[in-house]
Amino acid sequence: MKKSRTQLPKSPTGIQGLDEITGGGLPKGRPTLICGGAGCGKTLVAMEFLVRGAREFNEPGVFMAFEETAKDLTENVASLGFDLKDLIARKKIVLDFVYIERSEIEITGEYDLEGLFIRLGQAIDSIGAKRVVLDTIESLFAGLPNPLILRAELRRLFRWLKDKGVTAIITGERGDETLTRQGLEEYVSDCVIMLDHRVSDQVTSRRLRVVKYRGSTHGTNEYPFLIDEDGVLVLPVTSLLLQNIASTERIPTGIQRLDTMLGGKGYYRGSSVLVSGTAGTGKTSIAAHFVEAACRRGERALYFAFEESPSQIMRNMRSIGIDLEPWVQKGLLKFQATRPTFTGLEMHLTMIHKAVNAFKPQVVIVDPLSSFVVGDNKTEVKSMLMRLVDFLKNSEITTLFTMLTSNRSTADIHDVAISSVIDTWMSLLDIEIGGERNRCLSLFKSRGMAHSNQIREFRLTDHGVELRDVYVGPEGVLTGSARQAQEARIQAQQMVKKHDVELRHAELEGKRKALEAQIVAMRAVFEAQEAEALRIIRQEQAQEMQLAQERTNMEVSRKADTATDTTTKKQKGGAK
């Protein structure tokens, strides 16, 4: 995939995923063997190779069928949206059914397969075919005796196909110990692809593996693939590298308080969010908020529901004031509801891929992830999740997974060890105090942002999810009515205190008033006394003046001399 200059030329199959695994397609101008058991999809893969070649790469093709008649084949692949009749009419494809019935054939000596060569050659030349499918050539061994001649002829056939320069697919039934029953891999050795269809836990999944590819690098793992109404889809998911570009854009969660908890802005775009919690803690409600917020912004959201039907989810969300239906009608929101047991994990993954590629959402909800965990498949769930997250991150899609945990402890979530692929993990807990259960939300982690370490009480109201501060005090964390009771108690205490203070204030005021009154009274008394004292003083002064006057008058009358001055002074003092 990295250096294509030294690689041999390839012929793209047009099958989603297969070209990525093979680094561009099947070896051009060479035969490729596709082998696998009954019903594993060999014919369809081969047919899609031809049809896509004819439709998309302008490479006409010849399909030589040894097992199904042209009519059957046309009908069978019509269900995949391949209109063979039309392609045949437009000379893009030639369908040749080779009929061999052992009971009608008698062998009387040496023979060769020149007839087959001529037929094939004529078909190729008639439309200038670049691609050839021989499906399933091994049935020749059942129809014709003398395997020695057949082997020699097949070897010649493959060489002849190479000389013709056509890209060929030869299909073969899986053998007991060899890849194919007749050991075709000995002759077709450039590229061998094995298909498998296996059942585990009563669920089947199809897998594809490139066993060998001469002269080219290729993905070596087993890749799940899907056959549905659009043909074959292979997922080369485990080959992805960790190269997704991290966005710095933040998108709101749809719950204001939750945004605040997540550094004030919400999730990162393209991040993976996990909401885990016990039953009935409101995981879906958080998802619904997120979806609604996304749709409000005009983004597209894809909701994978694995437990509830779309109408049930919408009804339930309406009860908390989230109406999703308008968004569905507008085409911004799409539900895809399936039962987890419907197919295997791989198939679910493939279907999610397909739906995401078709709908191109910005937001994906997987509700819930835990329903995939059946028995002991936790490692598989993890690998599935990892691949899913890789894929979604590469597409810059923000994903919210919900996950049901069986008990209060988070230990069993850690078992699944999905934490490593999750960026923001919030946990919804049930806290049981005072005979009631209350929901609480806390953040386990949120990569790349400052986030709150506080537990919030999580309430479902008729206008959506509400987050409230919980009471944290000497009695521990209180929620629900316990919190309300505690709040009331505190309020009462505060009231009492307030009362006390007011009372004291009043008392003080009273005291001050009393004191002031006293002061006024005392001042009045004092003023009275002062006035009295002043009056007496004035009286005495008046008397003294009068006395002095009288004395002067007497001195005048007695014609006293200056000596009188001193006596006057003496008399004054004595009068006091």
Binding site: I107, T108, E110, Y111, L113, I118, R119
Partner: protein, 113 residues
Amino acid sequence: MKTKPTTQKSAPPEAKPTEAKADTMVLRLYVAGQTPKSITAFINLKKICEEHLAGRYKIEVIDLLINPQLAHGDQILAIPTLVRKLPEPVRKIIGDLSNTERVLIGLDLLPRE
């Protein structure tokens, strides 16, 4: 419909029309060019027919190199193939017809074991 087969018809033509149409065996030998196997097959066929079906047979030789499109009709894969068109049911005999006994069995001229 094709001209080639008629030109390659050998001994039988004069014998065929005189004989009753009902029990005439119509045989087609498919070959691809004048390969040793084809020639051997034709010689063997003629010999067998002369010995066992004198005057009651008709042979068409079809060369697929000349008329490749004819390979479809009788579902020809192997070369040489002898097809008994009539009487029904159609029988196919593959190979150079060197095993006379098997040819006779194939043409229902000998009972099958």
